[in-house]
Amino acid sequence: MSENKKWYSLDLGLNKKTETTGSCGCGKSQGSCSSHEEELNSEEFYQAAINASIGDERKRDGFEQVFDVKMDRRTAFKKLTASLLIGAGAITASCSSVTDDATKEKAQIDWEEQFKGNYKLMSDDEKQATINRLMRSYELNTGKNISMTAENAEEDVENAEEDVLFGYAFNISKCQGYMDCVSACVEENNQDRNSEMQYIRIHEMKDGEGFKFDKADDNYYHEVPAEDHFYMGTQCFHCDNPPCVEVCPVQATWKEEDGLVVIDYDWCVGCRYCMAACPYDGRRFNWSKPEVPENEINKNQHYLGNRIRKKGVMEKCTFCVQRTRKGKNPACVEACPTGARIFGNLLDPNSTIRWVLENKKVFRLKEDLGTDPKFWYFMD
């Protein structure tokens, strides 16, 4: 793989580690494994830097430090110099031969991740490599494991299955507006809890007034179903002719073989053209770094699905690619207690979604735009 790689590989001496089979695990070429003197030095360096940066603010908690700050110009400069010191320290740490393996490995992973290509263009080996890097990176940062893999599959890379085209049907008569789907979606897909990002919107519409999304309420809180109202959900419709894909200037979003419209979060530049192009409000933007409490993180992840996003990238419903490519239903379908949500393989003539399309009177939203959504509505 290294021969035809598209970028220069940073070698921080980790490869030597695989050669040494002895008890020495630090990967050093010279000196003893337990040379505390040097490590202490770098630790002292950090301590000095931290002292310079926070100093007397040690006693204050995080909230006070952020919100209760009075600072003159001198302290501001002092702080700035301190952060620069830490930054410089980090660089020396990654380049010197005395820092520990974890730091080196982290630096190497960051390097490789920085220069990797678009997921769409990767070979399966390259996909596997980036998945491994991301899993290892998470482990190094938090000390916990995530699984970005298929549990029962022979290989971890989950590409689109053959003879599968995913489609969705939504029964307007059955939806009662419970919003169990919304909660399940947030939990499944590791959406930002801070901004309360949600992919699904349930619109409460007044009977007899038709679809008026501007008059409908998508954030109601009263007992449901309310009298004289009906409910309909919208999310990403995974259009067969997706305008969001068309406008993306860097091809960070595309349609997979099984019909899922997906995003490479590491390739997205955050221009939000796709958000503007989507006629269904299906896309969401991370205005801040997404925050999910560690104990609430869904650790079964997919590169194109629910892995933790970063600040400044787009995300949206992926029909739970991490679930559906293992044969499960999306989290919203599983959570809905009314059976209003139907998911399946459009290419399989025996699937229930096909029966719905052929036997119920189905329609799609804004059909005249030619976006060809794979999300149909129907009534009893």
Binding site: N152, E161, E162, D163, V164, L165, F166, A169, N171, K174, Q176, Y178, M179, D180, V182, S183, S195, E196, Q198, I202, N219, Y220, Y221, H222, E223, V224, P225, D240, R323, T324, R325, K326, G327, K328, N329, C336, P337, T338, G339, I342, F343, G344, N345, L346, L347, D348, P349, N350, S351, T352, I353, R354, W355, V356, N359, K360, D372, K374, F378, D380
Partner: protein, 209 residues
């Protein structure tokens, strides 16, 4: 140059015309694509592992064959005849232990339905069709289907009712009584499980749009 120009434009036109036709495997709509590429799914994905641990029975109704959860094993005091060891008319009395006192019927007006519409006092282990024939308790949907024929059609096809497991075959659907209490089949109102405070605040402040 003057001679070359028309040839150049001709070639350009030819290239453009050839390229304007989409590739052969492109369709004008997703429905067209589905019709052209449809094929019963026999891939490696299956719901069998997801369904493991659930007691299911296979039923065939019309052209549909699928799985539904078994029922008798889920009823705590089955078999009913362990208590109902004589016919209901004999057990009914003002004295003695009362049973099922909490069950009230909110299904249809009492000139249409009473207990005996579905239950047979002489054979409590089975259900009762409108013509008095016995129906296996595991196949209770047959009782419901006597009146609710449109719901039955939708359920068979998969448009009504929740599915068990995933989208992959074999198909497993919940049966009527898994969601509806047959004595009170409608649902009460309840509170939604979600309220987006951030969205509400943003709208209040006029930040939304």
């Amino acid at each position: 140059m003057k001679n070359k120009n028309p040839i150049f434009y001709l070639i350009l036109l030819l290239v453009l015309t050839l390229n304007s036709c989409k590739e052969k495997d492109e369709y004008h709509s997703v429905i067209e694509k589905i019709k052209a590429e449809q094929k019963p799914y026999h891939g490696k994905l299956t719901s069998e592992t997801l369904l493991a641990g659930t007691d299911l029975i296979e039923i065939t109704e019309g052209e549909h064959t699928f799985l539904i959860p078994e029922r008798k094993g889920q009823i705590k005091s089955f078999a009913c005849t362990e208590c109902h060891n004589s016919s209901l008319s004999q057990m009914k009395s003002l004295v003695g232990k009362k049973a099922h006192w909490e069950i009230q019927l909110y299904h249809a007006p009492d000139y249409i339905m009473n207990c005996a519409t579905c239950h047979n006092g002489e054979d409590m282990n089975s259900l009762n069709s409108l013509t008095g024939q016995s129906i296996n308790l595991d196949l209770s949907y047959k009782v419901c289907a006597q009146c609710h024929s449109s719901q039955f059609e939708d359920w068979k096809g998969g448009a009504h009712g929740k599915k068990l497991a995933g989208w992959t075959p074999p198909r497993a659907s919940m049966t009527c009584v898994n969601c509806h209490d047959p004595h009170k089949p409608s649902f009460d109102t309840r509170w939604p499980s979600n309220f987006n405070i951030k969205k509400a605040l943003e709208r209040k402040e006029g930040l939304d749009h």
